[in-house]
């Protein structure tokens, strides 16, 4: 039998036939994944470096770049469906990186009813999609993007700002009124309950950004301008004195309770870093699988994992970026470490095989599916063995 080598499907492709070598993509790519070869004068893509932010896709004038996630077609389809489903003419586009609870979005924009559109980086959305939204009858568009220095893709947030400025001018010129698109900035930041702080210094030790200073007499003081909202300190605080503002751990607990009720056996719950998996709009998980997206693997909370087991979840898969791909400072490695420590404790009660930490990247869209399939099989085997006993 000959060994079959099938090429791994990738999320981004550069079509040389259409490429006009204009260099817009290579000048905007935050990761130097698209470059122009000075000798051959051709533009080429190094997929290993690509983080699939989609900025190149949204700015390519020749449409020479194909992207799997949130392309113009799928975004348009989503908008058309959502327009009917939500029956309103306000659209709210948020970057997952900065997104607070939806209740908070209501408050921020004063919009009670809206079509939500949540994407990893607003910078990836082409102008065409904004215009399509207007065409299908959307009157107001609110955009919640990250603060510029907070963008996980470095250039996504500034690109969004410029794009919206230009779009608003254009829309005004063609008679749609002023400021059709409203841009607001938001970044997740940690919030400390100083009454609970015991001054142990764990937050200061784990923070990759030196955003915490220990003040005499040992109470943590957060320098919020450097906080990047990974949530690692929140997950590590022994006194449970920290929260990401507007992104409460309690909400995740409630979500775990709800999801564990709607899942069929054997229940598989996935905690995933939102930068490691870009789920499609029409993501259909098996009835026994549910997923919870986190702002970073750093916010994976040991207590949430245990809570899920408590609520009858049979297996928990944690999908994170590799340390190299981590949008923050190797936070995923720290998360992996604490999951390993929990696994050691779980092994004392025979739960170790029910928890798995895997690293995936959106550049290989099938990577996560494969991990999930393997893990689901494992959990199925454990469950069927258990029911026989």
């Amino acid at each position: 039998m000959s060994e079959q080598v099938t090429e791994e499907r990738v999320a981004l492709k550069l079509n040389e036939d259409y490429c006009g070598n204009c260099s817009i993509c290579s000048s905007l790519c935050p990761f130097e994944a698209i470059k122009r070869d000075t000798e051959t004068d051709k533009t080429f893509l190094e997929i290993e470096k690509c983080q699939v932010c989609g900025i190149c896709y949204s700015t390519c004038p020749a449409q020479a770049i194909d992207i799997i996630y949130y392309d113009i077609d799928s975004l348009t389809r989503y908008l058309e469906r959502a327009k009917q489903k939500y029956d309103c003419d306000t659209l709210v586009i948020i970057c997952k990186g900065s997104s607070p609870d939806f209740a908070e979005i209501e408050r921020l924009f004063g919009a009670a009813k809206f079509i939500p559109l949540s994407v990893p980086c607003v910078g990836r959305i082409p102008e065409e999609v904004f215009l399509k939204a207007i065409v299908i009858g959307i009157k107001e568009i609110y955009v919640l993007a990250c603060d510029e220095n907070y963008c996980r893709f470095e250039r996504g947030s500034p690109v969004t700002g410029r794009k919206i400025l230009a779009l608003n001018l254009l829309l005004e010129q063609i008679g749609y009124g002023k400021e059709v698109i409203t841009l607001k900035r938001n970044s997740l930041k940690v919030k400390a309950d100083r009454d609970l702080c015991i001054g142990c210094g764990n937050c200061a030790f784990f923070c990759p950004y030196d955003a915490v200073k220990l003040e005499s007499p040992g109470v943590a003081n957060f320098e919020l301008t450097s906080c990047r909202g990974c949530g690692l300190c929140v997950a590590m605080c022994p006194a449970m004195a920290l929260e990401l503002e507007n992104w409460k751990g309690k909400r995740i607990s409630a979500l775990i309770s709800r999801l564990s009720l709607e899942m069929t056996k054997p229940k598989v719950l996935v905690f995933r870093c939102q930068w490691s998996v870009f789920p499609p709009f029409d993501e259909e998980l098996a009835p026994n699988v549910r997923a919870i997206d986190l702002p970073c693997a750093g916010r994976v909370d040991i207590l949430h994992i245990l809570e899920a087991f408590q609520k009858g979840v049979d297996g928990i898969l944690i999908a994170a970026c590799s340390e190299e791909d981590c949008k923050l400072e190797k936070v995923s490695g720290k998360a992996q470490h604490s999951v390993a420590a929990l696994k050691e404790k779980l092994s004392q009660i025979g739960f170790q095989d029910r928890l798995r930490f895997c690293t995936v990247a959106p550049r290989y869209p099938e990577g996560f599916d494969r991990e999930l399939e393997q893990f689901s099989k494992r959990i199925e085997a454990i469950s069927s063995k258990e029911s026989k006993e």
């Binding site: 142990c200 022994p238 006194a239 245990l306 809570e307 779980l346 009660i349």
Partner: protein
């Protein structure tokens, strides 16, 4: 700090199995990381999961105390929470557990941790090392801030013994020779003459069992 490690869950489950209403008391005190609220909640979840396997249900309450070994703090924080509690599972060191046992003589008080020593932790690598035995006669001023009682395998007060190889101990090649460390430190401080001083055997009575401040 006090170095403790969590007892095996099976052992803890054996302790608490005869009881149903249990208070898990964390201690924010001297360990790193502190065995505070998060550790107490984590332990509750683990014990509930472990209890299920034994078909045993528990009713847990979870709390934490600033310092369990301080009987005033422990009493004022715990007493209001003791309704219906049959047993206390303490995440403190041995001193904390004993303080609770004294405060609540009618209750069962169990340790959830094994207490190892007074030591220091390198947070980066998570390594724990003994640094003090509480000898009652501190030598650190003469030894450049390095304790030979804990860090010299032989506990020599007048080292080095001559068995050190490449700065490591002859009995445990992974361990730095404390007396080489002391020599290097004193050299840096220009205080090598301290090594010429003879230190007589320790007075073990000084360690004592009770001190009046």
């Amino acid at each position: 700090m006090i170095i403790t490690t969590q007892k095996p869950l099976d052992e803890i489950l054996d302790f608490i199995s005869p009881c149903s209403n249990i208070l898990i008391a964390g201690c924010d005190g001297c360990t790193q990381p502190p065995r505070g609220l998060r550790e107490a909640k984590t332990l509750r979840q683990l014990l509930e999961l472990g209890g299920k396997l034994r078909n045993k249900g528990f009713v847990f309450k979870v709390t934490t105390v600033v310092k369990q070994c301080d009987s005033f703090l422990a009493a004022s924080m715990l007493k209001p929470q003791m309704d219906n509690v049959e047993a206390v599972l303490s995440l403190a060191c041995g001193a904390g557990v004993q303080t609770l046992a004294e405060l609540f003589p009618e209750l069962l008080v169990f340790p959830a941790q094994n207490t190892h020593f007074i030591g220091a932790e390198d947070r980066e690598g998570g390594i724990l090392e003994e640094r003090c035995v509480g000898c009652g006669d501190c030598l650190l001023a003469q030894t450049g801030g390095i304790c030979p009682v804990t860090r010299c395998t032989k506990g020599l007060l007048n080292g080095a013994c001559g068995g050190s190889r490449n700065g490591k101990c002859e009995l445990n090649p992974e361990k730095d020779c404390a007396w080489i460390l002391i020599y290097e430190r004193l050299k840096k401080q220009g205080k090598l003459e301290l090594l010429k001083e003879f230190r007589p055997p320790r007075d073990y009575q000084l360690r004592g069992w009770r001190v009046t401040p």
